[in-house]
Amino acid sequence: MKLVRTSGLIIFLLSFGLFLGLFFMSEYKLTEEIFASKVKPNHQELLKPEMSKMFDKSYSLSIPFVNQINAAVDNVNGQLRAEQKWNDIIWDDYSGSLTKASAGGLIVDSTWLLFVLVFIGGTIGALMFILPQVQLAGPAGIKHNGIFFNALNNRGWVGISAGTLLVVFYILIYFYDAYMMNWIILVEPLKKLINPAGESSQWFLYGFLYTFAVVVMGIRMLVKYRHSKYQMVRTASVMFFQLAFAFLIPEILVRLNQPYFDFKNMWPLDYDFFDAWHIDMLTKSGGIGIFMFAWGITLFVVGVPTFVFFFGKRWYCSWVCGCGGLAETAGDPFRQLSDKSTEAWQIERFLIHGVFVFGVIMTGLVLYNFFGGDFGFSLNKWIIVSVVVATAVGLSLWHMKKYPDMGSKKVMTVAGSIAGFVVLAVVFSEVSVFKKYIPVDGSNFNFYSYDVRTVYGFMIGSLFSGVIGTGFYPFMGNRVWCRFGCPLAAYLGFVQRFKSKFRITTNGGQCISCGNCSTYCEMGIDVRWYAQRGQNIVRSSCVGCGVCSAVCPRGVLNLENGDESTRFTDPILIGNDSIKVTE
């Protein structure tokens, strides 16, 4: 059995290594035919002088190839700007389509074979590693032995490498998708299987890898928590919703010429729901599109309050949601890394509610725009920089003064990092990646309604939820996004805090303050603080994963739905008749 497990790990690592290696295993050759077939006729004339230099030249790596294409477009646009030919400027992104068409070699010739080696091989390896645990790890029960000695689980070299890889992967997906063309091509056969007319993209690749991770690591979760039916049912639920609702159904809808739609996603997490293009797409797709539009609105207007009232926000966050699904499966090995300090909780409330407000304002502006209004203002970029820096410094000073014992290091770090990033983005707004997302013209910010949406998409949608939200799993735990950023979690949390039957109850006086509950709370709730004083845990951030209850060695914690009047009661510890112990 041990041998099976070791072999499984080796097979998995080989598959994973092959996947990473595929980034380099290909060649790209742009030909005149490809150029002619992929570039719009009116652009061909403009781009040909620049791009013909690349014709029939072979590149062994995607990066210089893509850079050269982008440089060609940039040069042409620079020229056009200089000549003030604003209408001719090329906005199309040709890097993806040209790179894909120009790719050749191993990845194109043996796509299926490689797909099988990477994903089927990877699955077999992973399962060989996971399943023997049923026997090897001993009788069913909590399996946390050695977690804090493990280089993956405790920010050791494996964890740091994994986190770095994830961050790089997310940056590629969001901003440099053409670089990872080999991987996009790798999943093309699957895409064609689901929808023969479709084309693989970085989003299909992402969706597939995401689902793959949720399902395989979901199996791991089922094995690990086979003694807890709550955990098994919940894990099966997130696996199902990711596989069916997030991955397969939208793809099948597209094959049936219907709009791409994830029936379980909702505003404000789904921040482009009210984008003009999205509303148009749905409302122009006949009855089913209208239904989808109505469904999407009903879900957050009626669904959220109703279900949160009966079950707490867990019905979504740890049973249905895709982000939650990844966190609860692939993220499970990192749950103990979330910060439990009061200071982290203060930062959390500030950030998540900040994002919520930002999201609501952004959506308001987008809708205002949709209904024909526009709204704009200009601000000198140095004013923005000053305001951001002053806010960061001000908040840090305020915190130091208000909580002199805490040290305020974390507040300073977070405020400093965010301010630092905004300053960088503004100062270098003319430079490559920022140019697309930061609406600075000369030294002025020009904010029109839709620009707010662009900034939100860049700062929140890409950087926060993706790069940091998932990339930082191995550093800050598996719920970085859900805890600090998700506007839907904030909304669900309001309802959970103020109008719900859900609470975690503590069992009389049985708590021994051991700390397992707090340590394994992925949301960084200091569960023990409540348990040891005998107080119901009613926290807006609690996603109801139930792990605190599972790891408690004394049977103290239980997730319950009950009468609202018994929710906020005085903390009480039973067993001492000397005094009524209300803290």
């Binding site: 001993g138 000695f149 709550y230 060695p553 049977g555 510890l573 039973i574 067993g575 803290e583």
Partner: protein, 443 residues
Amino acid sequence: MDHIVIIGNGIAGITTARQIRKHSDHKITVISGETEHFFSRTALMYIYMGHMKYENTKPYEDWFWTKNKIDLKKAWVKKVNYSNKTLEFEGGESMQYDKLVLATGSKSNKFGWPGQDLEGVRGLYSYQDLEYMEKHSKDIDRAVVVGGGLIGVEMAEMFHSRNIPVTFLVRETNFWNNILPEEESKLINRHLFEHHIDLRLATELKEIVSDENGRVKSIITGTGEEIACQFVGLTPGVSPNVDFLKESELNIERGIVVNEYLETNIPDVYAAGDCAQVAEPLSHRRAIEAVWYVGRMMGEALGKTLSGQKTAYKPGIWFNSAKFFDIEYQTYGLVGNKLQDNEGQFYWEAEDGKKCVKIVFDQASKKVIGVNTFGIRMRHEVWDKWLKEGKTLNHVIANLDEANFDPEFFKRYDPEIQKAYNGQFPDEQVSVRSRSLLERIFS
């Protein structure tokens, strides 16, 4: 404003300090040589097992103490001078107090075994014990644990978590049989075997054998068998840690003798927690109860007294809990290892042999006296109420689902238990019922 000095930063000392701070402005100093900050002693095992780091076992953040003006001093007290109210520290310093709380906890028992002070032989109580264990159990082939109680089984689990084979010597015929009735003891025996613990029942330690460097190399059992090992965990219980207080006017028997207000025989000197021995314990309690909950409850009462509201320590219905590898245990009320003459019992065990419920009752009145539950969580509040109100066995069995504290979706054993009850007590039928899933979801 008095200067209240507390020796010991465990649950008893810290609870006292927190309660004093809550209700008064006295100056508070908590002294400990063990660690700078309060940590959960019961969680020491999880540090060794890699479930948590030391930091995770601290119930309060470090700034909590400055914010609440509870001064911490890391030092060992050498001597207490009661006449001029002064503490002397190892290292020569001293400190004045107005009121003194002794919350010095326990120390591991040693019964004079040959070789008990060899290198690689140690009990488990303090943070230093944990460090010692960590240092001396690297790359060893086998550990022997002596003493079949709660700390013994914890130590066995600790070694097991690091794939160190464990031989577990238990003097009783079944695990923890001096506390648990036979059925429950046997249930845990089986579970230990299931985890491949080399459990030796009815086996005593005769001698610990040294190698040439003064380090343990084996032990010899009462039957003369020699077992090679490189670490010996001595866990035959604990006793009050009061050696440094002896030979003074302080009245010490096994522990520091206190009255119901936790006052010692010396004015302005109090004791709480493991080290305290209650002079006249209530009928359902013992004089020394070295458990977390008692330390906490004594601290709650004493803290109030020291804040100016004189409060007697009156513990309620006994309760306790533990976890043996994967099997959780809770108890409410009094269940002895043997039935008293007036007692009867109801026992149910699940088919897998890993869950059971035992309820002891008074045969004449049929009122319940106590419950042991293994593998099923029960509500403290409900049992406390049943026991206080003297509910009958029949009432308890009929309403068992009220007491269930297992997570949602877990199998409910109430119907099975009720059927078993109807079988064992043909004259006392209860109706067997289980709530539907919907009923439970929307309860």
